[in-house]
């Protein structure tokens, strides 16, 4: 692509990354180093571990019976739960997700600060089948599938209802009018056809979409 100044630059394409099979100009040593870096990065980044409190006490790998699962993804949604829902009287920490990527790393500690990146699971003490997840860390696109499989794989679903809370920048919302005139709080929902209850806000209209972990 030529710019206004006459230079030719390679523009990013909506096709995504170019084919990996394109021949690269590199020596065998460079190729080996690149492969090692990619392998290490893949190994560190590829691993996601879900640790439950009962595993530490030696109770083994029993699946958690879950009827309601509320997931808050992103710092805003996690903060919403911390401010309005969670407290140490009614909720107990039952698990944590440990992952690493270039943007953040979570640890296995459950004693976290609001500014940390974390992914914690809480259970309602009065009804242990109600589970809540606060995920303030960024889960990279090549980790999202694994996150899902590991988290949902640990559960025994019993008429499971899942609620996902998430936020998106207003600038991403596509509408005919200006985004300055939108009401606040501006809420939209997506639901599966199996969800028969009343939704508390309007549904997300085309052409808007949701991506990343909430979409997964």
């Amino acid at each position: 692509m030529a710019t206004f100044f006459g230079e030719v630059v390679v523009a990013p394409s909506r096709a995504g990354l170019d084919e990996e099979e394109e021949a690269r100009e590199e020596t065998p040593e460079d190729r080996e180093i690149r492969r090692e870096i990619e392998k290490k990065r893949y190994w560190r980044r590829g691993r996601i571990d879900v640790l439950w409190t009962w595993q530490a006490s030696g109770r083994g790998e029993e699946p958690l019976v879950c009827s309601r699962f509320i997931v808050a993804i992103g710092r805003n949604a996690a903060a919403f739960l911390s401010s309005f829902i969670l407290d140490s009287v009614c909720w107990e920490v039952v698990g944590v997700v440990k992952l690493w990527n270039e943007w953040c790393r979570t640890s296995s500690t459950t004693n976290v600060l609001p500014t940390d990146s974390f992914c914690l699971f809480y259970r309602l003490i009065s009804d242990p089948t109600v589970l809540l997840c606060q995920c303030s860390c960024y889960v990279a696109e090549d980790q999202q599938f694994q996150w899902l499989e590991k988290v949902f794989g640990s559960m025994q679903k019993k008429g499971l209802q899942v609620t996902i809370l998430s936020t998106c920048p207003v600038a991403d919302y596509k509408t005919q009018e200006s985004t300055l005139t939108l009401v606040s709080p501006f809420l939209k929902a997506l639901k599966t056809k199996e969800f028969q209850e009343q939704v508390c806000c309007p549904l997300l209209e085309q052409p808007n979409i949701v991506r990343d972990l909430p979409a997964a």
Binding site: S13, R14, G16, D142, K174, L180, K193, P207, D212, A215
Partner: protein
């Protein structure tokens, strides 16, 4: 990989034996995907299932082909399958980019699904960077086709009748004249990989591609879908003979999700 939709009483998985699978490559300008949107929207195709895959970036939204309030609330995800049995057509739409290092696993799984579902042939809609054309390619039609050897026997003659141009191979080492010619589709995403794998696995595949650049690719999508229609005759194209012009867009229905492709309305406070 393929999960059929639960259509109430009909619990049997859909049968695609002998069908033509039409699908896009995620490529420059997303032209293939836009063309597929036009096909699904115009033929009012029914969703019959989706691909459960970790190879594509996740996304979800409401029905992109909604025409009214009643049908606008069905969820839609990144890889869905639509079918039109009357034309023996099954269409795969891909709505998000591939995750790094997942091209090959996706292609392998896709081709094994093609074989297990006994599709007769695959038609891949794609595009390639216009700026990579050589001097000869700059002239004439920007549309090209490719056929695997198995499909060449069946439809190669038809392509000649239509006066279509086959995608040229380029020198493996440009500048050196006495060198092997290879297939090169820059900006084509998984096109080359799928095509070469299909050749070696004996799958009947055709690739239809257009040279284009990033930008407003809606006209490119119309050109590509009309090119496809010349061969497959999915819809009747109306040619106005009286004033010698063809309105390329008229028979195709633009889906509602194409609204606001280039951003929101302007804030009044700007003026």
């Amino acid at each position: 990989m393929f999960i059929p939709c639960d259509r109430g009483g009909d619990s049997a998985a859909p049968d695609f034996k002998g069908f033509t699978l039409l699908m896009p490559a995620v490529s420059v300008g997303n032209v293939g995907q836009l063309a597929i949107d036009l096909v699904i929207s115009t033929l009012d195709m029914t969703k019959v299932g989706y691909f459960y895959t970790d190879c594509l970036v996740p996304m979800v939204g409401n029905n992109p082909y909604a025409t009214a309030e009643e049908n606008s609330m069905e969820l839609s995800i990144n890889a869905e399958v639509y079918s039109l049995p009357s034309k023996k057509l099954v269409v795969l739409q891909i709505r998000s980019p591939f995750i790094k290092n997942k091209y090959r696993p996706f292609c392998e799984t896709l081709l094994s699904w093609v074989k297990s579902s006994k599709c007769a042939r695959v038609v891949l809609l794609s595009s390639s960077h216009a700026y990579q054309r050589d001097d000869e390619q700059l002239l004439g039609t920007p549309l090209r086709y490719l056929l695997t050897p198995d499909l060449e026997k069946a439809v190669g003659g038809r392509m000649k009748e239509l006066n279509w141009k086959e995608m040229e191979k380029v020198a493996a080492y440009p500048g050196i004249s006495d060198t092997d010619k290879v297939l090169h589709i820059p900006g084509g995403g998984i096109t080359k990989l799928l095509f070469t794998e299909s050749c070696s696995e004996g799958i009947q595949m055709a690739v239809l591609l257009k040279f284009c650049s990033e930008g407003d690719n809606i006209p490119d999508a119309f050109v590509l879908v009309n090119y496809l229609n010349e061969w497959l005759q999915l819809i009747k194209s109306e040619v106005s003979t009286s004033n010698n012009s063809t309105d390329l867009s008229s028979p195709w229905k633009i889906p509602s999700s194409w609204r606001l492709l280039f951003g929101n309305g302007l804030p009044p406070a700007l003026f």
